[in-house]
Each structure stands twice: as C-alpha cells, then as structure tokens.
Amino acid sequence: MIVAERKPFDEIRQLIKGYKRVLTVGCGTCVAVCLAGGEKEVGVLNAELKLSQKTEAEPAGFGEATVQRQCDMEFLDEIQHMVGDYDAILSMACGAGIQFMAERYPDIPVLPAVNTVFIGVNKDVGWYEERCKACGNCALGVTGGICPVTMCAKSLFNGPCGGTNQQSCEINADQPCAWHMIYTRLERQGRLDNILQIFPANDWRNQKPQTLVQPGYEERKASE
C-alpha cells in the first residue's frame, strides 16, 4: 500500500490560512490503513483545527467527508454537492489522490494534509516499512525477493558495497544490508548463481510521467 504521514499541524494551519470554509476529505483505502488520512484521522484533524481556531478573530468553518478512493473519479464525484460550499479542500489522500481531487475540482484550491512517504508493508499496527520504489523494472526474481533498488541505500545491483557493517547498512545499524539479505536468502535456496553474473546498468523506467493501458483497453482509451 501507499504509506503517508500527516503533515505537522502548524504547516496545515499555514496552508489553510485565509480560507474561511475548508472541506477536509479523507481517503478510505491506503492512507486509512496506515492511520494517516482515513475517516478517523479526518475527524481528529478537524477537531484540532476547530479548537485552534477558537482563539482567532474570524473562525473558519470546517466540513468533513471521506471517500472510498481519491484516486478514482467515480468516488470523487460523491462530494460534488458539498464542494460549492467551501473555499478550499484539505485532502488527506496520497499525492495521487490529492492531484486527482485537484483535477476534478479545478476551481478551488486543493491542499495536502499529509506527506506521501513510500510504497510499503504493514509490519504491525502503526508500523510500516518501505519495500518498493516503483522503478518499473522488477528484479525480485533474481535477487531472492529482496529489492536492491529499495532496500539498498545506494540502489546497488552488484552489492554489497564496502560500507556494509556486520549485516547492517552503513547508514544505520538498524537497517539490514540488502545485499547481505540477498546473499543469505539465495544461499539458503541454493541460487547463488543468480548473482555471480554482473547485473548490467538498469533501465530506469520511472524517470518521466507514465501512463499504462492494460491489454484489451486500448480502444476504450482512444475513444475518451
């Protein structure tokens, strides 16, 4: 899932400064699971904002809504009847959801209440770790299911580097060395041959905005 964290409260206040009526919109998918921008977090943020506004001369009005997915137009349509009543939308979705919201309602400012941090996994409640950088050229089949691009701080394809420190990465003793893990996993599976060959320079496919149309849907897109 996509993992996000709420922006610092003061930054959010600064972003909405000057808007009298603000609609805070949560997203019910990834950011809800990682406890950053679901229905519950929308309620908490609005409560905090209302509380902090009491001391100001002209308190703003805050509305709230949460849609299933802000990265889907169908769900964004659901709040159409509310949007006209507000000066700004405060979105708690990931960066993709925020942008789609801004695209759907181009006449009013859409502001981010969260920072999108990574594509990751749920290690435990409230604990998430990055696992994928969406490089567009997956090497996991060769590297024992451990991503050299994401899990190695230098994204090395022929590691480990000289800084590897007793199974840890040089950047942090708590961060395991990706190439140590790759070696150990492949050794366990009897697949060390996989990394005896040199990985050639990578074809980075995530260096420009991308569009993907799945096979069979080309005509549908062309008719748009």
């Binding site: 701080a153 230098k154 994204s155 090395l156 394809f157 022929n158 590691g159 480990p160 580097c161 000289g162 800084g163 590897t164 420190n165 007793q166 199974q167 040089e170 950047i171 060395c177 140590h180 070696y183 150990t184 005896l196 040199i198 990985f199 050639p200 320079a201 990578n202 980075w204």
Partner: protein
C-alpha cells in the same frame, strides 16, 4: 598498453607498486594542493585524487587531478556513483582522458547521509561494477554505454576497490571476481588492519586464479594515535581493526604512538612485498601526507622504478 600510465607500466613490468592519496581542498585553494603534493613527489607511482570523499563537497577530482599532473604527480582519478549519472560520468571520463588522466578508480561512494549535504539526492544511476564495465567498453570497444561509437576512445587504466573484511566474508571474493569480469585492471583494498583475514582473502584470490587477472594493491593506513585506532574500529563503516592493534598502541606512551603506528605500517608493507598475489601497496595516510617520504624510506620503497 591499455593506457600507458606509469602505474600500468610499473605493474606490467613486475615492480611492486606504491600509490598514495591526495584529498582535494574544500575550496579553490591551489596552494593547498601544492602543499599536499610536495611530499609525494618521487615517493609514489600514482596518487589517488578523491571524489567528494565522505560525501563532503571538495574541488572536483578531475580538476584536482589536472593540478596533480602539473605538480609532476600521476593521478589516479577517483569517481563515485553517488554524484553523477551515466551521461555526466562518460562526459567526465572523456574529458579526463583528453587532459592526460590515465588511471581511474571506480567507486560506489559513501552515502550522502554522512556528508555535509545530507538532504541531497543520491544519484546511483549505475553502481561501481557497472561503472568499471562502462569504462572498459568505452576504452576497448570505443563505444558509449548505449553502444554508439566514440570519436576518440579514452585511454584509462581501470581500478576497482575491494573490502576484504565486510560480511559476508565468503561473498567478498566473488564480488572481486565480478569486478575483474567487469574489466578491472587493478584493485586497491580497504585499509588493512586485520592481517589474518587479509591473508585468507588473498589466498582465496590466488586459489581462484584472480590474482593472475588483476593487480591487487593492499591498502595501508598508519595509525597516528590510539584515539584514531579506536575511532576507526567503532565509527568507520566497513573497517576491521582487531583488538591486538589497539592493544599494541595502548602499550606505548602517548607521545610514541605515532611512531609505533608508522612502525606497524612498515611491517605490513614488508609482509605485503612477500605475499603471493599482492602487486603493491596503496598508502593512505589520513591528513598525514608529509609522513609519506619517511614511510617510503623506512619501508624500503625508494627509489621508485623509472619506467
């Protein structure tokens, strides 16, 4: 001759090579380079010119390499993968070669988090093994990484780094093999303090026939003090400083620790001269360039062969 560098001539002639190191200044102060270069003249065959070492901004390594040439030193131009992508790298390699730089050391580079601009974006478009492969392709096939023809291929003696001590130890020798397969002509190792492990690593390299394919220069760093030894042991990533090294420095009074450090370095060099599979020593005195003549003299590395 692949490059015609002095280092290449020394090694191919079978002489025991001796290389040094010069860190560019944190500014455009040429005097600082001259001051560091002075004690190295005639003492070493080539001098590694570091590339934003420890991820701290310094004068670019190619520019400092040119000053080294004008000071009468042969540079070993270091290039890290952290700060530039394949376009910038290939452009710099062509420029370096056109200006007469003939040796290059291909490195991953310390992570930017350690340096003076920890907020920067690390590039790591290619890694050090791929960089070696790219330089070889440019030199031997006259082609850029994308296969297009080069108008005047670079002449570069290709160097790689090796850390014989990092875990998993069993894998280190295979990583060395990969760098040789990629095209490394010579290898400079991480500073060696753990001689037992070094002997074992070199033995494995001999057993696999790797030392017949590449020239290995063992890294030697003289300890200036007990404090430095302790710091290297605990704070520097990838460094292996055994307790007996610490104990030996602890055993002499503070004013004599530097002398003991030099003595230990000379003993190491003497052993490396006799070690099968070791073709030279890379001396890395950290901010101690002025001690190089003394170490070269005491380790019987002088005079340097004229090739």
């Amino acid at each position: 001759m692949k490059s015609g560098s002095t280092l290449e001539k020394i090694l191919t002639a079978g002489h025991f090579a001796f290389t040094g190191e010069l860190g560019p200044p944190r500014g455009s102060n040429i005097e600082a380079i001259r001051k560091k270069a002075e004690p190295l003249k005639g003492m070493v065959d080539a001098v590694n010119i570091t590339d934003n070492q420890t991820a701290v901004v310094r004068m670019s390594s190619w520019a400092a390499s040119l000053f080294a040439i004008s000071e009468g030193l042969e540079p070993n131009y270091q290039m890290v993968c952290r700060d530039r992508n394949r376009l910038a790298m290939q452009g710099d390699i062509l420029g370096a070669s056109a200006h007469g730089i003939r040796n290059m050391l291909c490195l991953s580079g310390d992570h930017q988090q350690f340096g003076d601009h920890p907020q920067s974006k690390g590039v790591f478009d290619i890694d050090s093994t791929q960089l070696i492969q790219m330089v070889k392709k440019m030199r031997d096939e006259g082609q850029f990484l994308n296969g297009q023809e080069i108008d005047g291929p670079p002449k570069i003696f290709i160097g790689a780094a090796a850390n014989p001590f990092a875990e998993p130890f069993e894998w280190r020798i295979y990583r060395l093999a990969k760098k040789i397969q990629a095209g490394a002509d010579f290898v400079q190792t991480q500073c060696v303090f753990n001689m037992e492990k070094m002997r074992e690593w070199v033995k494995r390299a001999n057993d696999m026939g790797l030392t017949e394919k590449v020239y290995i220069l063992a890294g030697v760093t003289p300890m200036k003090s007990l404090g430095m030894a302790r710091y290297m042991k605990s704070k520097v990533p990838g460094m292996d400083v055994p307790d007996h090294v610490i104990d030996r420095l602890k055993g002499v009074e503070k004013g004599k620790q530097a002398e003991e450090g030099i003595k230990m370095a000379c003993e190491q060099i003497a052993e490396f001269k006799e070690m099968k599979g070791i073709a030279g020593v890379h001396l890395m005195p950290i901010e101690w360039e002025h001690k190089v003549p003394e170490i070269a003299e005491r380790a019987n590395m002088l005079p340097r062969p004229n090739v």
